[in-house]
């Protein structure tokens, strides 16, 4: 097996034992990117020079006998929605095409402090809004298992770059399933930490009460190590929880005897692909053979998850994205053209309806905002801003936003009740395997339904992960979804690790052409 196919945890040991240097590893992964990214399209920015410099510095420190951080000089990629000082952070949007943040996100500064070698920034749906990465303003990312299919989203680049062995691990973000769904569709392991477990400082906001950054990797062990590096309280994010961070790697090997897994009745209903159901049911038998008990549970309000999410998330997005005004940073419309357009409109209005009609035309500042945003945002972002603005507008606020917040509490109540009887909840990550590029592009509602099983964990603020648990007859990966009560990442990782000790789905690799 070549270096690029190994897990990050394995590579970390190889580095420690001196079997390979960080520079050699970084070169090997950069070569792999060079060979395959023209087909896969995961990367928006490749920083070969910076990565090699970082790797050389880590090698020098290791040679000098100095201590090395927990990530040990293993190459890594970051979703292009986390701010990197001095390096473009586009969010997959024309709006931020030329934006260069003046500071690092806390996640990024912690990765650097833990000695990750950052090889680049990876593609995403614009502002993390989408489930296929097709909403990126810059490029398509393809699923390495089948280049005609989507890698999932919004962290499609973060999952595809691992599946194509271009890095062994990466950082994604998850607002309604955006780490777990692409992890499932690309056959990698991805964890959405508990809301508040990882700082959001410098994570460009989509829906602030739901957004959470998290790790993707080849195995639960990889994900545990990467979570270790980024988790913990941050005074710069008042919503980051001041809860101690356990040693995630230490408890991975604990046996599963005595653990009860909840199987959600509602997850095996209409719309679930038969091959996915079969793979999930087989995984349940694996867990039983490992000593876990299964228990039937019900989440009666989970069927309202999508409707609840597609009110709350757009409402928060419409408010968060108000900051893109063409004034402080980012794209700005051509001012001369804008003023000329406005002058023509005012004249036309004056002829039609006199001075009052002319005054009803936008002021120059309002028109600057409106043109800037019309030209800078893509269709899905506009759709969500419009939806959120509508739902928050006078007369509709109670009927939509407040109603959704009430249902959100009912959804969390379901989980609270279920977790009194079970330790973890297990089910499918997605209802279907990766679909074809373009298949759902003109049907926003169909795309939203992709998040069926994942959104409720965000609404309730739980920890959840997806691990590979099978392949379809066409060779497409299937993901198993595990959910845990808040701050129980240890339990999730332990179950995932024990599963991966006796299965080899996480070791399968696509044949790259």
């Amino acid at each position: 097996m070549s270096w690029v196919d190994a897990s990050a945890a394995q590579l970390r040991q190889d580095l420690e034992a001196g079997r390979v240097s960080s520079v050699e590893l970084t070169r090997a992964f950069l070569d792999q990117i060079e060979r395959h990214d023209s087909n896969v399209g995961a990367f928006l920015l490749i920083d070969s020079e910076g990565a090699l410099r970082q790797a050389a510095a880590i090698d020098a420190r290791r040679a000098a006998g100095q201590s090395i951080g927990v990530l040990g000089g293993v190459p890594l990629a970051i979703k292009d929605i986390l701010c990197t000082a001095g390096q473009p952070t586009t969010c997959g949007s024309r709006m931020l095409e030329r934006y260069v943040p003046p500071y690092d996100a806390t996640v990024v500064s912690r990765l650097k402090a833990a000695d990750a070698v950052i090889v680049g920034k990876v593609n995403l749906d614009e502002f993390a809004m989408g489930g296929s990465t097709e909403n990126s303003a810059f490029k398509l990312t393809r699923n390495p298992w089948d280049l005609d299919r989507i890698p999932g989203g919004s962290s499609g680049g973060s999952a595809a770059c691992i599946a194509a062995s271009m890095v062994p691990w990466s950082i994604g973000t998850d607002t309604g399933g955006s780490i777990r769904q692409p992890a499932a569709l690309c056959g990698v392991t991805g964890l959405k930490p508990t809301y508040g477990r990882v700082s959001r400082y410098g994570l460009v906001a989509f829906a602030s009460s739901l957004d959470q950054a998290g790790p993707l990797g080849r195995s639960a062990e990889d994900v545990a190590l990467l979570l270790q590096a980024i988790a913990g309280h941050d005074p710069l994010d008042t919503t980051s929880a001041n809860v101690p961070v356990p040693d995630y790697a230490a408890s991975l090997d604990k046996p599963l005897e005595g653990l009860t897994l909840g199987v959600v009745r509602e997850h095996f209903g209409e719309g679930l692909d038969g091959q996915i159901e079969a793979a999930v049911r087989e995984s349940l038998r694996v867990f039983e053979s490992l000593g876990a008990k299964l228990k039937d549970v019900s989440l009666p309000h989970s069927k309202y998850g999508i409707a609840t999410y597609y009110i709350i998330a757009p409402c928060e997005a419409s408010s968060n994205l108000a900051r893109y005004d063409g004034v402080h940073y980012g794209y700005r419309t051509d001012e001369k053209q804008m003023l000329a357009e406005l002058e023509a409109e005012r004249n036309e209005a004056r002829v039609r309806g006199g001075e009052r009609a002319a005054d009803a035309v936008d002021s120059p500042l309002v028109r600057l905002y409106r043109r800037t945003r019309a030209e800078g945002f893509g269709p899905e972002v506009k759709r969500r801003i419009m939806l959120g603005t509508y739902a928050l507008s006078a007369g509709y606020y109670d009927a939509y936003y407040v109603k959704a917040l009430q249902v959100r509490r009912l959804i969390r109540g379901d989980y609270d009740a279920a977790f009194r009887d079970v330790d973890l909840i297990v089910g499918p990550t997605t209802p279907t395997p990766a679909f074809r590029l373009g298949e759902k592009l003109n049907d926003p509602l169909a795309m939203y339904l992709e998040d069926l099983y994942t959104v409720t964990a965000n609404l309730a603020g739980l920890a959840a992960l997806s691990i590979p648990c099978g392949l379809t007859a066409n060779g497409l990966p299937i993901g198993l979804h595990l959910q845990a009560p808040p701050f129980q990442e240890e339990r999730l990782l332990q179950a995932a690790h024990r599963f991966q000790r006796v299965t080899d789905w996480h070791l399968r690799r696509p044949r790259l052409t």
């Binding site: 009460s209 919503t239 936008d362 120059p364 500042l365 969390r412 603020g461």
Partner: protein
């Protein structure tokens, strides 16, 4: 309840988006479908249920009132599309 094109146009001003006629038509239909979909929530009786705006439900996170260095002005202005030495520049707001 279906959305009208006039409502969508009004919302586009509130959202500070300038939409083309084609976009307005398409969004009127798409938003109508999505709103129809989310209206399934009305079948739930939520009277007496407290809204849950935030999973952590943390309130009043205080910090010491200490002077700390903040972003340097030049750095803060570095990404501005239009600026002078000290400020962001915008089109005239008052008068012509």
């Amino acid at each position: 309840m279906a959305l009208t094109r006039a409502e969508v146009e009004k919302v586009s001003l509130l959202a500070r988006l300038r939409l083309t006629d084609v976009e307005l038509d398409r969004l009127t239909s798409e938003l109508g479908q999505i709103v129809h979909f989310v209206e399934q929530l009305s079948e739930l009786d939520t009277s007496g249920v407290a809204p849950l705006a935030h999973a952590l439900e943390a309130v009043n996170v205080f910090a010491e009132d200490e002077v700390r260095p903040s972003l340097d002005r030049e750095l803060a202005l570095a990404n501005a599309p239009k600026r002078d030495d000290e400020c962001y520049r915008v089109p005239a707001v008052l008068g012509e």
